[in-house]
Amino acid sequence: MKKRFHSRREFGKLVFAGVPALTALQGATLHAQSAAGSNRSRINGVQFGLQPFCYHDLVMTPDNRRTLINRLVQNGLGMVELHATWVEPRFAAAGVSAEAARDRIRQWRLTTPPAFYQSIRKEFDDAGIAIFSYYVNLDDSYTDAEIDAVFKGAKILGAEGCVGSQGLRLTERLAAFPGKHGMFMGVHNHANLSDPDALNNEASFVKALSFSPHVKATLDTRHYTAANGDCLEFLARHHGRISSVHLGDRKRNNGRSTPFGEGDAPIIPILRMIRDNQWPIVALLEFEHGTLRTGVEEVQLMFDYCKRAVA
């Protein structure tokens, strides 16, 4: 019999020599997928994207942005709601007071040139991913100039609007800003029924939407369901003012988040409603339920569930 390997060490060298080739092959596959364009996750008229909190193990920092992009491509997603933490530097550090860190990030926002945002947009463009919206935790500490700077940066990124989970009082103040930039301000609901300022039900959404035509609903189907709201009724009544849905499942009565199809959120009817009416509402997949699987594996299951729903 012909001798194949002289030693285990030689065999090991041979095996590990194959690793770079496999990596290169994977890179080529990613490139090929990127070439598919920004509509790679438009399925039967429904535009899907991702709220990338989903990759639980991935800390949302600029350093991890490349990994985020690779994972989005791996999951076949061509649209994202990008949280500002993937973009902005962090100034909080040992020895830096919270006040000093806050001042530094404000200065950064006010002085960062457009080229910074353009280069980030290029990273996503090159991967065939459109940034649909820019999620920012706006609060009372933001000056007017700073809010304008956030909207300007988001626009350069390609976002159509900024989204946040702020309450009604702050939304009223913010309502004056998106129109100046030709954008929308998305208001995102949670399930807190004990806070009169919170976005949590239809009445609170209606109030927020009344502040400006540029305010739009980012309907979180999980939280709306947990707050015992009816997502389908909300869509039927307010679809013209809904920019996107954060699509996920949860049980009613402040119940827990669940894998798609195991809770009370009517995910399939929601998607078919959007599809059948051709509403331009982006379905941003999001999960906060537990799983032992990796974020990429879980997102794939969620996305496959949705694809079957609109097939």
Binding site: R4, H56, A191, S194, G255
Partner: protein, 233 residues
């Protein structure tokens, strides 16, 4: 496929499998997020329950909270909970009224077994965190008088300085003595398969009490206790 190629492909697959097994990687298990599987399979089940039902998303796998969630390493409810029942009560009801953005959900759809598994992981993770934090701290000089007071309040119902602890100060080096205070070797072993040890009521009660102490020790209290016990010659 030639034999040569067949052997190569098999080799690559085997090497990959071996590497995956060594790192704890397997399909359907996010080792980067959850951590490698534990040797104690029951505690691993508890951990997986905690992750599967979504607790880790907000409170962190090892109780390092993400976002606005409560820090269970510092929670008074967890610290005062003896047998999991206080945690289970909170899990069943949730915390609907809150000034936070998102209220804690209720888990009333889960079984007692599932809820108790979650509580067991929370206690275990809190003990591991406290043990690691205090063990990593430098051995700082404590106050023996304060240590005596703590001993009399929390330890003297089981231990005696003239009995089982007599001469303890000479028996161990300070670092080893601190380790004994934190996790007595006589009670060591959470191993789920050590049925005899688990069924020994004295050991079980001792372990329960020391677990409760460990979950709530501060570094200062341990330094004080150490200073006191070192003087037991």
């Amino acid at each position: 496929m030639s034999k040569w190629r067949y052997v190569l492909v098999c080799g690559v697959v085997l090497m990959g499998s071996a590497a995956a097994a060594q790192s704890g990687r397997r399909a359907g298990y996010d080792v980067d997020f959850i951590g490698p599987p534990l040797a104690d399979s029951v505690m691993q089940y508890n951990k997986e329950s905690y992750v599967t039902y979504g607790c880790a998303y907000c409170h962190g796998v090892d109780l390092v909270p993400r976002g606005e969630a409560a820090d269970l390493r510092q929670s008074a409810v967890v610290g005062s909970d003896v047998d999991g029942s206080a945690i289970v009560r909170v899990l069943r009801a949730g915390i609907p009224k809150t000034s936070k953005l998102s209220p804690m959900p209720q888990y009333s759809d889960l079984s007692d077994q599932q809820l108790n598994a979650i509580a067991a992981w929370i206690h275990y993770a809190r003990r591991r965190d406290r043990l690691t934090t205090i063990t990593r701290a430098n051995l700082s000089p404590g106050n023996a008088t304060a240590g005596r007071t703590y001993f009399e309040q929390r330890c003297s119902s089981c231990h005696s300085t003239s009995g089982d602890l007599a001469g303890l100060g000479k028996k161990y080096e300070p670092a080893r003595l601190r380790a004994q205070i934190l996790e007595p070797s006589a009670l060591a072993g959470d191993g789920s398969f050590k049925v005899d040890a688990l069924q020994d009521s004295r050991i079980a009660e001792g372990r329960r009490r020391h677990h409760a102490l460990l979950e709530n020790y501060s570094a200062g209290q341990v330094a004080d206790l150490l200073a006191f016990v070192q003087g037991l010659n």
